[in-house]
């Protein structure tokens, strides 16, 4: 069992590259984060910011090649997943660390009943008999609040609605009572009311089990609802790390600020929604220095000089912006 507050998964300086015909592309660059028991950590970023790639790399499900882990460690309770053999890693990934994906229709095997797919976890990792495993699968479906679970274990993924299917994915991920759940955009494919139900369910199940949850999302609304801490990523770098409440209240990095500014709110009613000018850079042509400087309202010439380091501004508060961190430091003096 996990101790309360124990660091379960600690990613340190993870760098992932993809080999392309036009040379290597760095999708994740020196990323670090950690998640504790009972904590919900949100990794926030637009598509292409490297948020999914980092988790796929450490769980070993990233296609390698073309992907390649250049450096870094990902320790599950002190054991480095990246240095492990595939066989050793399979004992942890799928058992102690499990994953939920975005599109539940394509993420579930269309020709196997949902019961069989959930039961597979018990059969492979616990060596249970088919009967016992199916019984446990039905229990799991019940735990994720699928009505008439016992009747639905034999149904196929296409016979469920989107929200119900995502519950099935959750049941499968939580079947073995994992320590860490990595939820990769679990609500993106769902409509708003169902999104809220799924997030609530994840939060409830987390509280029951005291597990660590890594929630990958591009939706600030999702983060503000449920996450304890947030890591903001941009073009493969972590640009800000903070407790959710603080990040929402006082964003330090201009990118986080821009994201917050473009959230629809009651005050903005009737007016055009502000946006961050420009588009995210192609990973093949990341600007020198700070990757965000070409879209940044406060950029100066110095921003092009070198990649801004992630600096601590306050306890548990880090940001990678020479304009803001130096400013904050000056204010602190």
């Amino acid at each position: 069992m996990t101790k309360p507050g124990e660091v379960l998964l600690k990613v340190d300086d993870l760098t992932v590259e993809f080999d392309t015909p036009r040379g290597p592309v760095r999708a994740v660059d020196g990323v670090s984060w950690q998640v504790r028991a009972g904590e919900m950590l949100a990794i926030l970023g637009e598509s292409g910011s490297g948020k999914s790639v980092s988790t796929q790399a450490l769980t070993g499900i990233l296609e390698m090649p073309p992907g390649r882990i250049v450096s870094g460690t990902a320790e599950y309770r002190g054991a480095d997943l990246i240095q492990m053999t595939t066989r050793e890693r399979r004992r942890i990934v799928g058992d102690r660390i499990t994953m939920v994906f975005q599109d539940s229709l394509s993420a579930l095997n269309p020709v196997q009943s949902v019961g069989t797919q959930i039961a597979e976890c018990y059969r492979v990792h616990r060596g249970m008999s088919k009967r016992d495993a199916m019984k446990k699968a039905a229990e799991m479906l019940d735990q994720v609040r699928i009505p008439a679970a016992a009747k639905r274990v034999g149904d196929y993924p296409h016979e469920f609605s989107g929200g119900m299917r995502q519950r099935v994915m959750l049941a499968m991920a939580l079947a073995l009572d994992p320590d860490v759940l990595i939820a990769d955009e679990p609500t993106t494919a769902l409509d708003v009311t169902v999104q809220a139900q799924i997030l609530e369910l994840i939060a409830e199940l987390q509280a029951e089990r005291d597990m660590g949850v890594v929630l990958i999302t591009h939706d600030l609304g999702v983060v503000s609802d449920v996450a304890d801490n947030v890591v903001v990523m941009y073009a493969g770098h972590v640009v800000e790390r903070a407790a959710t409440a603080e990040a929402l209240e006082y964003p330090v990095h201009p990118y986080t600020e821009g994201l917050l500014g473009s959230m629809p709110s009651a005050e903005l009613k009737g007016r055009e929604l502000p946006t961050i000018p420009g588009t995210p850079p192609s990973l093949q042509a990341i600007p020198s220095g700070c990757a965000f400087r070409t879209r940044c309202p406060v950029a100066v010439d110095d921003c092009a000089a070198e990649v801004p380091p992630l600096l601590t501004i306050a306890p548990g508060r880090e940001a990678a912006c020479i304009r803001r961190t130096s400013l904050a430091a000056r204010e602190a003096v």
Binding site: I61, N109, P110, V111, S113, M172
Partner: protein, 308 residues
């Protein structure tokens, strides 16, 4: 399910009428007089000719001839060929020959196709995969006729491994050479299809899910990738199996196997409309049946198309 089968059977009736009518019309439109061709160079007395013509209704209008043939087929009175052989007896003798050839050829084709397809799909860009692509191109470029005669010459005449033609050595020896040639010519397409299907499935999201569940590579391949990758192949196999009768017309004639294909070939040569239509009807019924079986099998393999 029973409703599905019945609906398919009913839908097959008008198609069957069109097919048989078309085939009969084609035979009717062929030039030449069947009875004179049968007699060869020998002169036939006019009275005999007239009697024979009356026996086979050759002087009746087209549609009457067609309806009489269909009546015979549907009531099971197949009658005799122009040469006097009992058609029902002929069918009893010939159907097993064609079945043996077709099944053996398919066994060769499926075994090779599934084996190489799965291997090439799982070991992409390996040497088996690359050789398969080359082999496919070569095999698709070789006309069947060339391959049959070349195989007869090489393995029958020169190496003497197999009989050149005929069924004197019985099953399976007499059938091996034609079955192998058909199988080898046909397997490459099947293997390529399966290979491509596997490659597409490997990148599916549910395969990522399976890996994230910590499953071993073998389990991912056999339990998750293959059952999904096989779906398009089942359709291909069905169509291929149903089309085998057409191929049998040529192979049975070249290898002198007394099956339905050879029967068809002779009947066409002699303008025996009744026999041609009978055999076409048989082929049509087997085509419909095989397709029905494939659709039912597909429903078993893919829950998404059940109950439709």
């Amino acid at each position: 399910m029973i409703r599905f089968v019945l609906r398919r059977a009913v839908a097959a009736v008008p198609i069957g009428v069109l097919v048989t009518l078309g085939v009969f019309a084609l035979v009717f439109a062929m030039p030449g007089d069947p009875l004179r061709e049968l007699a060869g160079d020998k002169p036939i007395p006019a009275a005999v000719l007239a009697a024979k013509r009356a026996q086979y209704h050759l002087d009746d209008p087209f549609i009457v001839q067609y309806l009489l043939s269909m009546k015979d087929i549907l009531t099971g009175h197949f009658g005799t060929t122009f040469a006097g052989a009992d058609i029902a007896d002929q069918l009893r003798l010939r159907i097993p020959v064609t079945l043996k050839l077709t099944l053996l050829a398919n066994a060769v084709q499926w075994t090779l196709g599934l084996f190489f397809g799965i291997y090439a799909g799982f070991k992409r860009n390996g040497w088996v995969d690359r050789s398969l692509l080359l082999a496919t191109l070569v095999l698709l470029a070789v006309p069947g006729l060339v391959a049959y005669f070349a195989a007869q010459y090489l393995f029958g005449v020169e190496l003497k491994w197999f009989p050149v033609s005929g069924v004197l050595e019985g099953f399976p020896r007499s059938y091996l050479l034609p079955a192998l040639v058909i199988g080898v010519l046909g397997f490459a397409g099947l293997a390529r299809l399966l290979r491509t299907s596997i490659v597409e499935t490997v990148n599916a999201d549910f395969v990522k899910t399976a890996r994230a569940k910590g499953l071993g590579e073998q389990r991912v391949l056999w339990r998750h990738i293959l059952p999904n990758a096989l779906l398009p192949v089942v359709t291909f196999i069905g169509l291929d199996l149903a089309g085998m009768f057409g191929g049998a017309i040529i192979t049975e004639s070249i290898f002198n196997l007394p099956g339905l294909g050879q029967f068809m070939f002779q009947a066409i040569k002699l303008k025996e409309g009744g026999v041609v239509v009978l055999l076409s009807t048989l082929a049509f019924i087997s085509f419909i049946l095989i397709n029905l079986l494939i659709d039912l099998l597909y429903g078993v393999l893919d829950p998404r198309v059940r109950n439709v």
